[in-house]
Symmetry: D3
């Protein structure tokens, strides 16, 4: 794999482990982070051997969100004309969003393993993942409200589909910190673990389980769930029918059926 400044990436057992690797900065998201995450997920998409992804943070915390220096430098690029500044800001925001769209649109399942702080931009990031798991004492906060802005890289767009509408608004308006257990009870994370080691063990286990399934079936399943977030039931039914029109002609179905009959574990090509 390439060398990254803000990340460390390891591939084993068909699972890519993507670690945010700036522990001395509480894994704050700097310019390297925003650029490299796109490259990493392009590599994930293009590499058949990768069948699932786990994303976690090095050190005590998952991430404290966007690097405030980077945010401040944005302000210094503003010129005298409000309209032209607006265009510049709009394009900059769209560019930052593209980094997390790369996670959301990734063809392989992405699991977030969250310990310690998961603040501001970090919530935007994990909202773009497929599933989220945390330690009991993880701390979540939609911190943007406390720096005087509406979150604009995905939290307000994706989180309402994941947690209940009423609690979504409370968390976004107040910036209140919740722990792993409350996060689980509102559906933000699927399960909590006693500590960071147990967390990583658990999440890696789920990822490996997913990696053992038919990759054709997993990708179809992800595409369909992603699609349903924004589309009607009737459109979704027509879409899966069109999708499976090709995919049911794949060998994987036969491999799985044969294994099923003979009570053996199937082996799927990448």
């Amino acid at each position: 794999m390439s060398d990254y400044k803000a990340f460390n990436v390891v591939l084993a057992d068909k699972v890519a482990h993507v670690v945010i690797n700036r522990p001395e900065k509480v894994n704050a998201m700097n310019a390297d982070f925003w650029r490299e995450i796109i490259e990493i997920f392009r590599w994930v998409d293009d590499t058949d051997e990768v069948r699932a992804v786990v994303i976690s943070g090095a050190g005590k915390h998952f991430s404290s969100g966007i690097d405030l220096m980077m945010l401040a430098s944005l302000g210094s690029q503003m010129g005298p004309d409000v309209g032209r500044n607006a265009e510049k800001l709009r394009r900059k925001i769209l560019e930052l969003q593209a980094s997390f769209n790369a996670v959301d649109n990734c063809r392989k399942p992405v699991l977030a393993a969250i310990q310690g702080y998961c603040l501001g931009g970090a919530i935007d990031l994990v909202s773009a993942c497929d599933m989220r798991y945390a330690t009991d004492d993880a701390q979540f906060s939609i911190k943007e409200i406390d720096i005087g802005m509406a979150a604009d890289v995905g939290t307000l767009q994706r989180l309402p589909r994941i947690i209940g509408d009423g609690m979504m608004r409370e968390l976004a308006f107040t910036g209140r910190t919740i722990n792993g257990e409350e996060a689980r009870s509102i559906g933000l994370v699927n399960r909590t673990y006693a500590d960071a080691d147990a967390l990583l063990d658990g999440v890696m286990g789920i990822a490996r389980e997913i990696a053992s399934k038919s990759p054709v079936a997993i990708r179809g399943t992800k595409e369909m769930i992603r699609y349903m977030r924004d589309h009607r039931v009737d459109d979704g039914l027509e879409y899966i029918a069109t999708w499976n029109a090709a995919m049911l002609q794949s060998a994987d179905l036969r491999v799985a059926m044969t294994a099923h009959m003979s009570k053996q574990k199937p082996e799927f090509a990448d």
Copy 2:
């Protein structure tokens, strides 16, 4: 009622009880099943006396999902041209989907009473019902992933509106089995019961309660909730206004108001 091969259907107290009746095959969904369910729900829609439906499985289990023989026979119909096969498969899938659309679009509320296995296609079926109830020890699994395919008769389309997005993905990617209690905690079922008898008693009670309400009001309520699954709030408000423009001129409103004033139980025409 007609004679069905895969079902047993009984109408009592204005509640139709639709029983999947192939216990020796764990109620696997064969060709009879897919065809007859459409006829049954057409009859439900056309019969004024039916005001609610309960669907359950004969024997120890609700259903093990699609009959694998039937799935295999699909494969044998494939010809040499990938494109023409794709068209054939696409139409076949749309045809199977139509069987569960008949449940989803039924004008009367449909309640599923689930004991034992509820696997693969059975999840697609109960996702198309209005409400789901289960025994504590029922077993749910999105089994399609283990036969190498993305579920294509409704689970991936309807279930994300019912349970949380994060757990939805975990269950669909891993095929993990959950019991009645976990199903309740994520919103998949509304309530669990100690055993199959208590379950059927409880669900029949709820169905009879619904059957005692104004059928005009029940149908309007179902139509509106179904509509909101796929439409905007403003469209929904306009739609109910147009709908009630006719329905508020029904006698049922007067019947209900009069009963309410006199503290008596109202009797509504079918």
Copy 3:
């Protein structure tokens, strides 16, 4: 503030407290109510000093829903032609809906504090609020089904986005009464309190917390969450980028950042 017949309105600490004030009628919603609530929320929108709203009911109950006298009087205005009656009813329903749309579209967060009865139209009302809080012994019921009609001023449109689909249908079909605790467990309310005093204290505290944040950021946050209820993720991302193109040029971001650096509490202009 103006004098209202059905409400009492107080503004303190930048929080408007809107009290439904017909305790002798269990706060039933009469013609005054439907008209005045629009005026009140127009005032809220136009008054910079108001940064959050709490809505509650005077006396033992939140509200018993629409005034049945008012509903009955609607019937007496019907003429001989079904078509012309339908048009009249349709327009009347749209007019009533407008009263709760005013709550839903309000630019400032609206918190409902619910004790005692919250029945029929009262559920329509709280469904249009941002967050809901209740006493343990509050009683919720979608009562419309018992007067022979499908709810038509917002419950069936907004509540499915707030609570789970399966329980939504059960409550709407049966009119079953649930208490504060069950309401919390299905996401209808965010938290419960032991009694009405604790409830109002708690909710006022949350409202004041929200009122201390940047009003520009709060309004953007509310607009985005409201938008996402009905729009696609990609549309939402583009919308926030366009919105923040202007709003990130506001002084509030600087004020918040400066306060953050100096560990002080920021003071935002109205």
Copy 4:
């Protein structure tokens, strides 16, 4: 082919010619018509040999629209309760719409050849066809307005996508009759012909041309255009990519390319 009461159907040169065959009644659409048209288009969809459809009217006129006797008989089925009548009417209208949906959703291109009267329901019918051709002196009128109703089997839904919005409203509000030439100038028909013979010759020629193309490509093309009537450009792009993922593996592409290289006419399997 089966025997039809309201139609005459002939298959030649892979083109099905569907003739409305009640010339003595100006081809008014009676109960037979509405039922048989569904059967005919199911046969068209299921018969590989049919690659295109031409629909025309026997005698001097295309069709005068819905049979007024049939409409009147609907009125006689109304009972005393406005609400229950409304449900009955709603279902009846949906049932009639299904007849023209069968035309709209047909997988093969449908061409209408229109001479003489094309009134009321006949406009609903031709709006559901892919293309329309007429004699110079054909007469079109959205006649429903003159029998005191809004057109409800497709004209108001499909025609605005075909002709300009401004002229659409004028024709729908006034019921004004336009001839073939004006119909062409607003895009309602693609071309006009001097008389009925020239019309049928011309339309049959276009249909045979279409029938000579790859049926896989034609069906994909129709599905995509149908889809775009109601969907976004980005959704359409994703849909065709998924569709062609299977269809580009068909032999037809090779057959066409080979023929193209050797300057010969390709022959495609049905």
Copy 5:
């Protein structure tokens, strides 16, 4: 009728003639205009006797668009904070839009009779009408581009549904002036007339024709066409079925059928 400053309104033969009445200012749209147009269309909607509306301009021109003084005064209300200015501007634009939404949403057909200048805001206005008619020498220009702004009260939103996409963009980007004849050829107006007198005569004739039809049918027809501008064909079909479920129970259908049988002109109640 009330007294208006910017308009003159006359009701005759069930047609309301709304005249923009500031000829000495080329009928520029000032504050009175924007406020009064809402009142006028509320009156139109509430007055059963009004069945159609004609809107025209007093003097030589239809209108030169928004009053530039008014636009300039907006600028003078701006404060020092870009974010708060943005909110103020956004709300002001939404408020101006509401004036033309009142025209668009009016339940009765609105016909524009256009002579002389129809510039900038005047295009926004006529785009919100149902049909447009003009003199041969009328002059249309999307003038906003020449005052350095994107049109924001309806032209860019509504005109693309009326004229072709390619010409829409050319006119919006260049501000090029087109005359009545070119306007007709691209579908912007339905017909042109030699001079202002012929124009008004012609348009009044069409309006009276519309006013002679069943008002229930006309309103349903308008609602459906309006609905289809933004909705899918399948949604539109379901909506008209629900709408007509009530409206086909109106007496107008009977009145029209009886008149039709006896070859007499029907008389419909308001």
Copy 6:
């Protein structure tokens, strides 16, 4: 500017002239073409000095569409598994689509100047431009149908919004060739010219006219029209209000107003 293999690009008078430059291959779209067009439009978007774009073809023809060699090479990359091939094809098609999305999403207006052949993929390309102009004898054909496939890089998605639905289907099903004049009459091109020189002169003139307008206003106008192709009128109104909330604070409005008052030509910053 960079050096391109398939293009020649010149910037003058703030208009970028992008010439497809493979005249010896009838400007067929090869791999260089698909890759470079993305780079070129990224440069257009990022270069403030570019305010409008003209795209044309070197030599006698605009373009004959996709290079058939390239298409054939796609086939040779197919493996033995239909499902995996389908995924590969789907991604390849999405990748090709991205090249024309870059044109469609470009922030500056793009004008196509078309002479000679405009076949297959060339129609997909010009459908993604803002406006189209042609010589009288240009030749347009949706050629894909003749190589046995449904067009999949934009024609079927974008063209139905530009030309009438009925003619759209005829051209797509038959592949019939139309000339410049017929293209104009159905709205495919805005204007025709006698020959290629007159064409380029004319189109450059329009482009320079657009380049002289406020770039802030032009970009807003394009964004709004693009948005309306896929969104509802009410969403469009809200979007322009949010957009203009920032843009009306630009200096351009003042510059334009001042110039307007003093009857001078305004000069806008890039």
